[in-house]
Point group: C2
Chain length 247, copies 2
């Protein structure tokens, strides 16, 4: 029953086939029927297909090649701009220039994004999320001309698959599911949950290629370092201030 | 092709039928195949079915009745606890006690949640998101015994529909989609985009029932007030500090 969800894989290589405008509209409409906060729809998406604009966005996404290759780039935003304008035109005093409103809008935007992703996959398209969106939000804000109370929270690249890779491994479900209350891990359960992953040839090569001793070190020393995380924390916080969500 | 997404509705009234454990596991497994940051899976879900625990959670969700009625309550968390423990056991220095890591983990958790929601709906279940999760995160943390670097970001109630309401209206797609760059609204476009919604009998009654002049005022004065948003902003920020995501 869930093959359309369990047999999926992220697609990073796209063919030159463009996406039909009508299909894209249907995909976005499917996304918009998702749940959202109080039916305010505190989100928006910027659909970018223009080569020059994609080039301008590229450095913000660390020049990951899927951005230029994908015919469509979707930047999903937490958005209280439209609602705030509506309130002002309706004799209502908006109160959405704060962190809680950002969180509600971010949740809305990501629920919308994931429904769009599933709709796209159902239509035979491939997607890739770009986590770099919250790293360099300010550059994306500048390029896409996002007004006050609009902040990008994630990006999807969209296109027809050129290369379809194997399905990616996941940790055993017990790694992410707790019953009734959170059951914290013991050293033994951590070992058991990561055993299979750490034994995969793919990851052994990944560790060797990165000249590290353990898979965890690839994450802490190479991919998601403390220094970078702290640098991009401050940068994202400033973008939230700049856009008016933090006073 | 997208009927399973466009014909959905949020379900707030559940029958007494329980959810088969095997089905719930399949739904969660489908969710876990979704995209996530660097395949770290920086999320978790607490599955609550115990009546006493649901009662304890209830005030945090402002005693919304679907929480007690639903056979299953799923609390989705941004979670760097498991990863941090794994790093420490693997001679790796974790650097995830910061805001950017919280954002990455929150995005992971919500992508996971929305795939779980769609899987559940595909199986004939009904879902309702509880936005109250970020309002009273600290109370949920206490009840579910969430450790450091675990913060709840959204909640789903899950059960078989007792009452299936009409499909909820959405704004025209142009309200949430911008092409190439963000095209800010004029007063005229705002009026045009909200016209149909404001003319619905449902919302006219909603405005009258709340003794307000405009629909926007119901949002600003009753449902999502500036005062509450600011109060819950500070509260959520403190929960992030308490859990170690903000220093």
């Amino acid at each position: 029953m869930f093959e359309f969800l369990t047999q999926r894989r992220t697609i990073r290589n796209y063919s030159k086939q463009t996406i039909d405008t009508k299909l894209l509209q249907q995909i976005l409409e499917a996304g918009a029927q998702s749940s959202n906060t109080g039916n305010m729809q505190a989100y928006s998406v910027v659909v970018t297909t223009d080569e020059d604009l994609k080039k301008q966005l590229s450095p913000a996404h660390f020049n990951q090649p899927m951005l230029m290759q994908a015919p469509v780039v979707l930047t999903f935003c937490a958005d209280f701009n439209r609602i705030t304008q509506w309130c002002k035109q309706r004799n209502a005093e908006p109160g959405y220039a704060n962190f809680q409103s950002f969180m509600a809008a971010a949740v809305d935007a990501i629920i919308f994004a994931q429904t769009v992703a599933i709709a796209a996959e159902t239509a035979g398209l491939g997607i890739c999320y770009l986590g770099t969106t919250t790293y360099n939000a300010q550059e994306i804000i500048d390029t896409l001309q996002l007004p006050q109370l609009v902040v990008p929270v994630t990006t999807l690249t969209l296109g027809y698959p050129e290369i379809t890779p194997a399905i990616t491994d996941r940790l055993p479900l017990a790694s992410v599911v707790h019953f009734e209350t959170y059951k914290d891990f013991t050293p033994e359960t951590i070992d058991a949950l990561y055993l299979e992953k750490e034994e995969l040839d793919f990851y052994k090569k990944f560790v060797a290629d990165n000249n590290k001793e353990t898979l965890a070190q690839v994450f802490t020393d190479v991919r998601y370092t403390k220094k970078n995380n702290e640098f991009f924390s401050e940068k994202f916080y400033k973008a939230l201030e700049q856009q008016g969500f933090i006073q």
